[in-house]
Symmetry: none
Subunit: 195 residues, 4 copies
């Protein structure tokens, strides 16, 4: 019953992003998403279990793709400090370049119910692991202080980036997000690096 691929599967997810970005989470009815995707209401349920499944699939698809891109980019970067810079830059650029997705993931989907948020949290873990690996490798190579708790460092890095993007959207996206990368990375580096 649930087909996780196919033209319509993707059309529905893209429609969901558009509708949620345009109308907000609370006005993103299944019927509206169906109309945007140019399918019948019932057709949605041939591709998704329920509405929650649309939302989590949306996040999984978009976030999964981004994580793969980040991992790929990190492969060609050696120093942990530079890797961190790459991650900060990609995180900010990714959402700046796709404002609809930014609105959906940073603002709207956070209003979803606990179940959806839990699944989103699980998906995010993969991203947090990427951050963890950068920190750990930095500690192993001696450029980051060894006694820093990786989990705390991860929260600083992710929490700061997340708050930065959310704040950028809430304030009308009036400034360049990417241009903040250097300052943020600088702050992280000072916080982490060995004396």
């Amino acid at each position: 019953m649930v087909k996780s691929t196919g033209e319509k599967y993707e059309a529905i997810i893209d429609a969901a992003v558009k509708v949620i970005a345009r109308h907000g989470y609370h006005h993103a009815q299944v019927a509206k998403i169906a109309r945007e995707a140019d399918v019948a209401d019932g057709t949605i349920y041939l591709y998704f279990e329920n509405k929650d499944d649309i939302l989590t699939s949306l996040f999984r698809e978009k976030m999964g793709r981004f994580i793969r891109e980040v991992e790929q980019a990190l492969e060609s970067v050696q120093s942990p400090a530079e890797q961190l810079k790459t991650l900060v830059e990609m995180h900010l650029r990714h959402l700046e370049e796709d404002p609809e997705l930014a609105i959906v993931t940073q603002i709207e989907l956070r209003q979803s119910n606990p179940l959806v948020r839990k699944v989103i949290g699980q998906i995010l873990k993969k991203y947090l692991n990427v951050i963890d690996r950068i920190v750990t490798s930095g500690q192993e190579s001696g450029v980051f202080r060894p006694h820093i708790d990786v989990k705390i460092a991860r929260k600083m890095i992710f929490g700061t980036l997340d708050e930065t993007v959310t704040s950028w959207i809430m304030n009308g996206r009036k400034y360049s997000l990417t241009s903040m990368a250097k300052a943020i990375h600088d702050l992280f580096l000072h916080g982490l690096k060995a004396d």
Copy 2:
């Protein structure tokens, strides 16, 4: 609305915290809050405009009180570094000591409708200002690097703390939040301090 203070006003807010923490935002009906506060449904509307007003008042009362406590505590602390430590500690302790409030403000109220979220954002600004003042005074006294963008520093500090508390709740509150204060403060300080 009869009055915005009084025994029942507080009873209703406390009941709202309890009910939302216990049943979740979406199952926190007015009738349930009324029953928990031991008043009739209609009595709620003698003290609050509507349901949204309960939620925003809740946040305003609880956050307002906390901000006042923080500001008071900061007065008796001289160095910006120590002030930052005080803030980190109080932020974590405050929510660790009131897990119901933590669940409500970190998890449940984030699902609320745009209007409530907007008011919450406005209230949070006052807290962000407190953070800003610490950073600025640190820069003025020469202990924090002067070129750091205050807004970015603020996002690091608030974003990290917020992510830390949310993560603590989402993972079942299985560890001590307060005990992370030192490590977090250490990270902030390294990030901010002048060389």
Copy 3:
């Protein structure tokens, strides 16, 4: 418990007329009437059984007074044709001179519940009797055709006047109501008079 006289009794009735005329039947809450009458909500219930009782008392007082005025005026008029003219004129003038009362009795009170409307109907019967008496005396004196059913004549007279006033209010009271008296009376007279 129910006192049908007294300063406050009249103040409440007058307040009810004002509030209903100003805000409409559906927005004329007891609390609003109490405030207009400058008494507490509870005080209303020292003078009236319930809200319905305010409405029916209002109608009874106002209509009773008008009926007495009409009856008095008719005493000094001999011919039934002239009496009919007096009634038509007084009916129209009465409501034209008290637009608030006109709005309340012609428009707003008609939205009341069946029970209130029934009582209003009973009170109106006294007015219909006045009409009946004019018609009957006209038939007895030979100026009105004897075979006309009094009840039908009464419905024509009251129905026409009622429709005229209602229509006048609904269309914004933009013309003189009293000036229509002659034409209406003329129509009635032609309808009723013996050949």
Copy 4:
């Protein structure tokens, strides 16, 4: 709204008439109408905007049909006097033959909110126009006095008929309404006809 016609559209309107006639305007909940129409509550909203729309549609359908019937019948009648007779007869017969509709339109719908009443007034205008045309043609053909104000004549005719039907219902429909047609028409004719 799916469509303004169809089996269910009519079933819902007929159910509304039944429920309102049986339980009164104030106890005619949407759920009750739905059950009577043998559809789900939500189905109502596939055919009607909201509850008000049910009520106005009801009046529009029923009154519209009646007006068309009257207009059709008037076509095959030449003299204005006879046309007036036809109208009086049809008006009374129409409501006598459908007592449920009579109760709804004469009693219950008059308690409806201002918006519904406004729409009802607009629909009634078409009926008043029919009356106007009869009066005017009677004046043009010289059988009705030319100086009679059409608007006043219309108010007499409609006001009398309306009062007659309302009174008939309020008094328990204990006599024949149609049998009053001749006497009413007679009264109208004497009132209107040229000497």
